[in-house]
């Protein structure tokens, strides 16, 4: 188990280095010069060169990348901003604030949003899928299956304002979405994020309903389920103890893949409800050609996905004894 984790984390680090290198390169492939933005409207070539030098942009690309990489582990000094202690992701071109602390400030918002939505997706998706599979072919199955198709065709930026209008403004059932740190007031944290969770999970939940249903139906036709029935196990035992275990494995796999999409959905949800999370940083960084911020957000997002995928893989081993982690 320990050696497995060490191996996985090493692999994850390699992936992150590759992702950051690609992002770095892509940013420079874009024909926009961030130094020009600093320089202002009347820009002398000398000033431009000086700004480039101060930002470290006059060095070859791989040297710049190397400095950036080293900065994460050892910190670095900037001519323009002064010393930046490790872990240093540089300073934002746009706001001049340290990228790392900007991300640390906002990360809890996105994390709360993503994890909360995951819980809603898995709980409701699997529950409705199980109900549909239990009552396969009957009215309840048809309701669950068809409402999942409707759910899958909805969009966050459409459902979000609509639900906000009815639930928050008209009926005043829940407070307007915002972020209250969980450490401050868990109840407020919960109620204020409820709507974003629901909106973010609607599309995904539908998928998990359909997947759970089809997986359950498939598992119920498996030989080992027939054996369980031949042993005299009751339908309920067969359904919950045997078929469910098998159905969860592919669902967990898809969930691991969906985490990245979910993070993307979190960005849209943040925009929809004006939550100040990583997504907002990312959108602004792109608009402002803010390389350090963009790199920082990308790498932190990628790290979160890679890390959660390791967690998913470890969960795998708990569900399926055939998966060995050594």
């Amino acid at each position: 188990m320990t050696s497995y984790l060490v191996r996985r984390v090493t692999g994850a680090l390699v992936i992150l280095v590759i992702i950051s290198a690609i992002t770095f390169y892509l940013f420079y492939a874009v024909p926009r010069d961030p130094a020009r933005a600093f320089c202002g409207k009347i820009c002398q070539p000398e000033t431009l060169a000086l700004i480039r030098h101060n930002l470290g942009m006059d060095e070859p690309l791989f040297v710049q990348y190397w400095h950036w990489l080293v900065g994460i582990f050892a910190g670095r000094d900037f001519v323009q901003f002064g010393s930046c202690p490790a872990p240093c992701l540089g300073y934002s071109f746009a706001t001049q604030e340290p990228v790392f602390s900007a991300i640390v400030d906002r990360f809890p918002v996105t994390l709360s949003l993503t994890l909360g939505a995951s819980v809603v997706i898995l709980a409701f998706g699997i529950l409705t899928g199980m109900i549909a599979a239990w009552k396969v072919g009957q009215p309840l199955d048809k309701i669950a299956s068809s409402s999942s198709v409707i759910g899958a065709s909805l969009q966050i930026y459409f459902v979000g304002p609509l639900l906000a209008f009815y639930l928050v403004d008209t009926m005043q059932l829940i407070p307007r979405p915002s972020y209250v740190p969980i450490t401050e007031n868990p109840l407020d944290w919960f109620t204020h994020l409820l709507l974003p969770w629901v909106v973010l999970s609607i599309i995904f939940t539908a998928n998990y309903t359909r997947m759970t249903r089809s997986q359950m139906v498939e598992q119920l036709a498996e030989d080992y389920v027939r054996t369980a029935r031949a042993k005299g196990m009751s339908s309920r035992t067969v359904f919950f103890r045997f078929a469910w275990r098998g159905a969860m494995i592919p669902i967990l796999t898809i969930f691991g893949v969906d985490l990245a999409t979910l993070l993307g959905g979190a960005i849209i949800t943040e925009q929809t409800f004006s939550l100040h999370g990583i997504g907002e940083l990312a959108v602004r960084a792109v608009q402002n050609t803010d390389l350090p911020m963009l790199l920082g957000v990308t790498i932190v997002g990628a790290a979160a996905i890679v890390l959660l995928n390791i967690v998913v893989d470890v969960l795998y081993a708990f569900i399926d004894p055939r998966v060995r982690l050594s």
Partner: protein, 354 residues
């Protein structure tokens, strides 16, 4: 189509008879293409402590018959007719609760592929033990001890440690042994083995069959052995039922059916089997044609499209009328050829072959 006939009220007791008696069983599946007549008017008996081998091609209704005995067909898509008596209990009309109590307890089943038939998510010990807990109300500890005992009985070395292993940690033969241990944990009166050795190599196959025989001698279990391997039948069974297109083609003791086969289909099965003592130059003679579609089974004798002798028996009969197994008891077959004709043809055939 066979009409369903009820002799007596379903579920009521009846006079002394065979241990297991299947009467005029029919199983139909409704599919998108139509109704599949998987089993059609099948009858057979089985006594305690004996083994009945059921042979036939794929799709001849062997497995379907036995799943019907256990009541494992999906009732939404299946229509079952006829009667199945286990001593004085009728099984087709029995309720779900009755069947759940019966399965794994009085009637147990061993499946063909022990890898897919065992749950990959639970330890062997748990899978064996849960049957015991369910039917005998044993505690966790008792069930585990019983699982160890069963594993020892079926010849698994170090059962105390093996009991906590998962099926994927067992070899193929070990898995089938574990499967047998699971089937026998409640000392069932009837054991249905659905091709128990097909997925195993020959040496393991022999061990498993010996094990079944040994357990039968110890506990007097009745066994139904489904197979398409006549060699397995010859070595293990007391009686044989040859099935074709969901019906009985021939029935009798192993000696009768294998030594003096009467039905042309049985001849075909026997001559398509390689023999150790025959020359390798003589090609095997497969039964020509393909198994019939059970969506529209052939009229008359279901075997007539593949049979060489309808002219001899009278084509009118073979093409239009279903033969039933005659005589009623003992060595019987469902064919319109006379006994003399069969004897002659068979003698000529074996001469050709030798």
């Amino acid at each position: 189509m066979t009409t369903v006939s009820w002799s007596g009220e379903p579920g009521t007791s009846r006079g002394p008879g065979p241990f297991l008696s299947v009467r005029d069983l029919s199983v139909e599946f409704s599919t998108e293409d139509g109704i599949v007549h998987a089993v059609d008017g099948l009858s057979f008996d089985l006594e305690k402590g004996t083994t009945l081998g059921i042979v036939g091609e794929s799709g001849s209704g062997k497995s379907v018959t036995n799943l019907a005995i256990l009541g494992l067909h999906d009732p939404a898509h299946t229509k079952i007719g006829g009667e199945i008596w286990l001593e004085d209990q009728e099984l087709i009309s029995a309720g779900r609760g009755t069947m759940e109590k019966l399965r794994g307890n009085r009637v147990a089943m061993i499946f063909q592929d022990p890898l897919t038939a065992l749950s990959p998510f639970h330890t062997i010990g748990r899978q064996i033990g849960e049957v015991y807990r369910k039917h005998k109300g044993a505690s966790k500890k008792e069930a585990r001890d019983r699982a160890v005992e069963m594993l020892r009985r079926v010849g698994i070395p170090q059962p105390e440690t093996r009991v906590d292993h998962y099926p994927h940690e067992f070899s193929g033969g070990m898995r089938q042994r574990a499967m047998i241990a699971m089937a026998l944990v409640c000392d069932p009166d009837l054991l249905i083995a659905d091709e128990p050795t097909t997925a195993l190599d020959v040496t393991v196959q022999a061990q498993i069959l010996d094990l079944l025989k040994e357990l039968q001698q110890q506990f007097g279990t009745a066994i139904i052995l489904i197979t398409h391997d006549l060699g397995v039948v010859a070595g293990t069974a007391d009686n044989v039922l040859v099935m074709y297109a969901g019906r009985a083609a021939e029935r009798g003791t192993v000696r009768e059916v294998l030594r003096e086969p009467r039905h042309p289909y049985t001849w075909g099965l026997l001559s398509s089997m390689p023999r150790l003592n025959s020359s390798v130059d003589v090609p095997l003679k497969p039964v020509r044609g393909t198994p019939p579609s059970l969506l529209n089974p052939p009229s008359g004798c279901p075997f007539h499209p593949r049979c060489d002798y309808p002219k001899l028996a009278g084509p009118e009969l073979c093409f239009n009328q279903r033969p039933s197994v005659s005589p009623e008891t003992g060595h019987g077959d469902a064919c319109y050829l006379t006994l003399e004709q069969k004897k002659e043809l068979r003698t000529a055939q074996t001469k050709d072959h030798a």
